[in-house]
Structures are given as structure tokens and as C-alpha cells.
């Protein structure tokens, strides 16, 4: 019925089609300006909207980038600050350990130097040198003995006395020299001790210098992070991504360990809480096993937090040292108890498996055979049950790294998505605008017949106007020439 409305010439579909085509083309020709305007405006407005959207997305991306940088900067600052603090603690330890004894060392060196000085002074207190005596003895000995015998006797006596005195002096001189040599010899170990003490001081000072150089490096890094330098931020981003993947890998390993642990204690747990009750779709015994594992992980978190290895709970880190130490002992005790419980559960699992195996063999009609070395897997399961909780406790370290790095990674991912969306929005806007331009041309293509006619008419009208205007101009020129002549 409704199709009848479009029939102009009944029984002639081709004519109808032609007529409708003509009508449509004429209508489109008449509404050409309005249609062009509509298409152009629509294309332009979509393009502008997309541009605004792209601009907004870019602005969001910038905001996110700034936020990410702030997070990275804050994390980097905190990390380097911790390292610097640690270095200062080491310096403090070095000073307390090595230079704390410096007053004693100083007194020791001073004492040694005083003793050296005394010994030196004692070593230089020697009797006058013998050469002067030697000259006197030679002079007396060289006096001629050809005179008075009494004089000769006197001279001999003088010579003998002088020689005796000279011998005594020489003996005293030799003794004093020996004493000096002895004193100087005893000074040798003192010099060595002074040398060793000074060497120790030198070593201590040098180690401090090395620490100072390391601190300087970290301070430079800290300064670069604070200044948000491109290199520092790039390094932090790269480090964060590495941390994300490494900690993610370790967490996956921890999850595997948790699953093994779960398998180890889930079955024997049904001996404690029953194997027939369910919470949701899960066995209560399975949930109990899961809870034990989660409590172990939580205790591990608290333990590492109390030891200030991780910093997930600032309230624990800022606790009084006495309370914190108490917390360390409490968490360690609970962890040990849980590990012991797990070890016993693992042993019970082995017993249950053994019992089940024996029953199956009985039901199958086979005689129960006692396996040799059955204690080895039992012991292995017990050890695993005891060790795994402690191993899981350390999951706090990769967890912290993962949590910190995931913020950066998610931020980077979101940045990438926003950038991509902005690009897509711009592309889409440009494409739509281009499509609408094509539509305008396609519109003109549909109505090309009337447009061509219009163009012909316009051209002929214009040429007529030009001809008439040029004819009028020629007449005016002729009139001017006639009037001039």
C-alpha cells in the first residue's frame, strides 16, 4: 500500500523511476546551498568536537604525567634518602668503631713519642770525646828522656797516670756509647709502633673519605631527582619497570609456593574441621588451610615491617623501639607456631595418604605391602611444611616493590592509552571532516546535470553582458574620437 504512494505512472516502473530521479535531482539542486552548508557545518563541528576531545585527553595525559613524575620523584627521593641515611649510619659506625678509640690512640702515640724523646735525650748524654786526652798523652810521651832521672821518672809517672786516665775515659766512653746504642736499639720497636698507629689512623681516615665520596655521589643523585632532571627521571622510570617485572616474577613464584603449601595442608585440615561442610562452593577445610597460609603471610608482613625491612605500614615503622622489638618477637613466635602446625599437618597428610593407600589395596584384594624408606617422604613433607611459611613470610619484600612499581606502571599505561585516544580522536575528526567534504562533492555529482545547465546559462549570460559592455565602450570611444577631431 505504501509503495503505491510513490507510483506516478501506474504500470510503467521505468518511467516512474526516471520521474522520481528527476524530482530528486531537482529537489537536491534547489536545496544545494542549504545541504552544502549542513554538510560542511556538521563535518566542521565534529572535527572541532574531536579536537576538543583530543585536547582534553592530552591535558589529562599531561596531568597524569605530572602526577606520575611526582610519584616517581617522591619514590626516588625516599629511596636515595634511605640510602644516604644508611651511609651516614655506616659512617657513624665507622667513627664509633675506629675513631672512637682515637683519644686512646693519641695518648698511646704521645706516650711513645715522650718515651722516644727521653730515650733520645739519654742517648745523647755521652762523655766528652777522647781525642783531647790522646793529644796530651802523646805530648807527654814525646818529651825526651835524656835528662835528669828524677824528671824522667816523674814524666813516666805522669805518662802512666795519663794513660790510666785515658784508659778509664775510653772505658767510660765505650760504656756510654754502648748505653746509647742500647737506648737507640730499644727505640726501634717504639718507632715501629708509632708507624703502625699512624698507619691505622690513615686507614680509618681513608675509609671515611671513601664513604664521604659515596655519600657525595648519592647526594648528587638526590639533587638531580629533586631538580627533576630528564636523566634522573628516565633512570627512575626504567628502574621502576624493572622492579615491576622482577617483583611480579617473584610474586608468581610465591603464589606457586603458596599453592604447594595449600596442597600440603588442605587434606589433613579436613581431619580437624571436617570434610563435609562447605562455605559457598569451597570446602571449609580448604578455606581453613587458605586462612592459615594467609595468616602466615600477614605475620611475615608484620615481621619484616617491624624489622624495618619493608615500609608498607608506616604506623609499625614509627613505633617505639621497645614496642617494635616486642612485636618482632610476637610475630616470630606466631610464625613459628604456625610453621610447626603446618609441619604436623604435613605429617598427618602423609599418614592419611598411607591409610588411604592401604585401604585401596585391601579393597582391591591385594595384600598391604610396607614400603621401604617410607620415612623419607614423611620427613620431606614435614620439613617443607615447616620451611614454606618462613619462605612465604619474605613475600612482603617483592610485594612492597610490586605495589610501589605498579603505580608507576599503571600510570605509564594510562598515559599511553590517553595519548592513543587523543591521537585517535584527532584522526577521527579529520577523517569525518574529509568524509563530509567528499559528501559535498558527491552531492554535486548527483546534481551535475542541472549544475552544468546552470553553468552554461551563467556563462552565456556573462558573455552577453561582456559583449554589450564592450560594445558600449567602443561607442564611447568613437564618440570621444569624433569630438576630438
Amino acid at each position: 500500500m505504501s509503495s503505491d504512494l510513490f507510483v506516478i505512472w501506474p504500470g510503467e516502473p521505468a518511467v516512474n523511476l526516471a520521474l522520481w530521479l528527476v524530482i530528486i535531482v531537482v529537489m537536491m539542486y534547489l536545496g544545494r546551498d542549504a545541504s552544502h552548508q549542513l554538510l560542511n557545518q556538521t563535518g566542521r563541528s565534529i572535527y572541532r568536537t574531536m579536537r576538543i576531545a583530543a585536547f582534553s585527553l592530552r591535558a589529562w595525559q599531561q596531568t597524569l604525567r605530572t602526577r606520575n613524575q611526582a610519584i616517581l620523584q617522591s619514590a626516588g627521593e625516599a629511596q636515595v634518602r634511605r640510602v644516604i641515611e644508611r651511609e651516614f649510619v655506616r659512617v657513624n659506625d665507622t667513627i664509633a668503631r675506629d675513631l672512637g678509640h682515637y683519644p686512646t690512640l693519641h695518648r698511646q702515640v704521645s706516650d711513645t713519642v715522650s718515651r722516644l724523646e727521653d730515650d733520645y735525650n739519654r742517648a745523647i748524654d755521652t762523655p766528652p770525646s777522647p781525642p783531647a786526652w790522646l793529644e796530651v798523652v802523646n805530648t807527654v810521651a814525646s818529651i825526651p828522656r835524656n835528662g835528669d832521672p828524677a824528671a824522667v821518672k816523674i814524666l813516666d809517672r805522669i805518662q802512666q797516670t795519663l794513660e790510666g786516665a785515658h784508659r778509664e775515659t775510653m772505658d767510660a766512653y765505650i760504656k756510654a756509647s754502648r748505653q746509647s746504642h742500647k737506648l737507640l736499639g730499644s727505640m726501634q720497636p717504639l718507632w715501629r709502633q708509632v708507624g703502625a698507629d699512624l698507619q691505622k689512623v690513615k686507614h680509618d681516615v681513608e675509609s671515611l673519605e671513601e664513604r664521604a665520596a659515596v655519600i657525595d655521589e648519592h647526594m648528587t643523585e638526590y639533587q638531580a631527582i629533586r631538580n627533576s632532571s630528564e636523566a634522573a627521571m628516565s633512570k627512575l622510570t626504567s628502574s621502576s619497570l624493572t622492579q615491576f617485572f622482577i617483583s611480579g616474577l617473584v610474586l608468581v613464584i610465591a603464589v606457586m609456593g603458596g599453592l604447594i603449601n595449600f596442597q600440603l595442608i588442605a587434606m589433613p585440615m579436613s581431619e580437624m574441621v571436617g570434610g563435609t561442610s562447605y562455605i559457598g562452593a569451597m570446602k571449609t577445610s580448604d578455606i581453613a588451610a587458605l586462612v592459615i597460609i594467609l595468616v602466615e603471610i600477614a605475620m611475615g608482613l608484620f615481621l619484616l615491617e617491624s624489622l624495618r625491612i619493608t615500609h608498607l605500614f608506616p604506623i609499625i615503622g614509627s613505633m617505639d623501639d621497645r614496642v617494635r622489638r616486642r612485636m618482632i618477637w610476637v610475630t616470630l613466635t606466631i610464625l613459628t607456631i604456625l610453621a610447626t602446625v603446618e609441619a604436623s599437618l604435613a605429617y598427618m597428610r602423609d599418614l592419611l595418604a598411607l591409610d588411604r593407600e592401604a585401604l585401596t589395596q585391601t579393597l582391591a584384594g591385594a595384600s598391604v605391602v610396607e614400603a621401604n624408606f617410607r620415612w623419607i617422604p614423611s620427613l620431606g613433607q614435614m620439613i617443607m611444611g615447616f620451611i614454606l611459611p618462613f619462605a612465604l613470610a619474605f613475600v612482603a619484600i617483592p610485594l612492597e616493590s610490586f605495589i610501589h612499581s605498579v603505580r608507576t606502571v599503571v600510570g605509564l599505561f594510562a598515559q599511553g592509552v590517553l595519548t592513543l585516544l587523543a591521537l585517535l580522536a584527532r584522526l577521527l575528526g579529520a577523517l569525518v571532516q574529509h568524509a563530509f567534504r567528499i559528501l559535498v562533492h558527491a552531492y554535486d555529482l548527483v546534481i551535475m546535470v542541472p549544475l552544468s545547465i546552470e553553468r552554461l546559462v551563467t556563462r552565456s549570460a556573462r558573455s552577453k553582458v561582456q559583449t554589450s559592455s564592450s560594445g558600449a565602450n567602443t561607442e564611447v570611444l568613437w564618440q570621444k574620437e569624433e569630438s576630438q577631431s
Binding site: 561442610s277 559457598g280 562452593a281 585401604l359 579393597l363
Partner: protein, 215 residues
Amino acid sequence: MNKLITLGLVLALTACTQKVPQQRAVYLLLDTSGTYTEELTKAQNILNYLLATLDSGDSVAVARIDSGSFSEKDIIAKVTLDERPSQANQQKRAFKQRMDDYVKSVTRGSRNTDITGGLIQASEYLAETGAGEQYVLIFSDLEEDLAKGHIRDFPITLAGINVVALNVTKLRSDNIDPRDYLKRLARWQERVVTGGGHWQVVNDLERLDQLIASR
């Protein structure tokens, strides 16, 4: 905090929508009439398989089919396995021992075969257990031979019960005309299905694992 609560609710809802594994109850009917007593060792194997398959919380009962089977006295042994695995294993051992003792004690078969009575007794027992999956295993040639005066030709209620005929041996008359055998099976199928149960025949005892899968 809100996010944690939402996550908890989602997990709880997910857990609630998942199907909880149901407890199972199995009632094994043993035909002790005529020459079928010779097949009882096979029944022992079936029971052993059942005991190995069933878990804590599941129930199992074994009853004999004799001249008047609608009686508690015909139940040889029944047990609901304890929720502790170690205790359940002990119960299984004890159950097997009672079954072995019973098989040894059977020397001659009963005069008549009241399968319908045993089936009604089984449906009552299974209804009492309240188990999610209920099975009646009929270890018989399905040839009913009622004592004089016993009325069993009425519809029986077996709603939701899986009735499995095991080791349905062919009688001498079946060999002459196999249609008798087929008719016998068809009649029992009709009775079971009309009563709301599910019918199945397993003659190859190696395929028992298709019946009740171990968890």
C-alpha cells in the same frame, strides 16, 4: 574500604552461585534367589569399588532381595561415612568385613524374588539420607517372582533416584526368545521412569566408573 566490601560481596556472590558438590547415597540390592547367589562375588567387587569411590559424608547400604524384601531386616549393612577421613576409612574397613562375612554365610538362595519390595525399601532409605545424588544399584537378573499373596503391582515413587541394573544375566528362557529379556528390561524401565527415576543398565562391570565418579 568500600572497594574491599564490594570485592568481598562479589566473591561471596560468586561463591554462592557456584554449585556445591552434593553428598551421595547408594543402596545396593543383592539378589539372593536361586542360582544368582553364585554371582555374589561380583557384588563384592562392586561394593569394594563403591567404598573406594565414596567420600566423607556419603552413605551406603547393602540389602538382600529375598522373598519379602520390604523390610529393614534385609539390610545387611549401612553406614554414613564420618566427616573425618581417618574415621571414614575405618568405617569402610568394617563395612567390607561385614559384607565378606555375609557372602560367606550365604549357602542357599531364597525361594522367591521380591525386587519391588527392595526398591521401595531403598527409596525410603535414600529419602532419609537427604543426599543430593541418590543411587539404587540392583544386582539381579530382574526376574521378579513374588510369594503368594504379596501385592507389588502398583506405581512406586522414585523421584530423582538413579536406578541402575547391574549384571542382568540372561535366563535360559531368554536364550530361547531374547524378546523376553528385552521385555523384562523395558518393563522395569517403565516402572522406574513412571516413578520419576532415571533408568540405566550396566552389564559390563568394568564400566562402573561411568556411574559414580570419584572426587
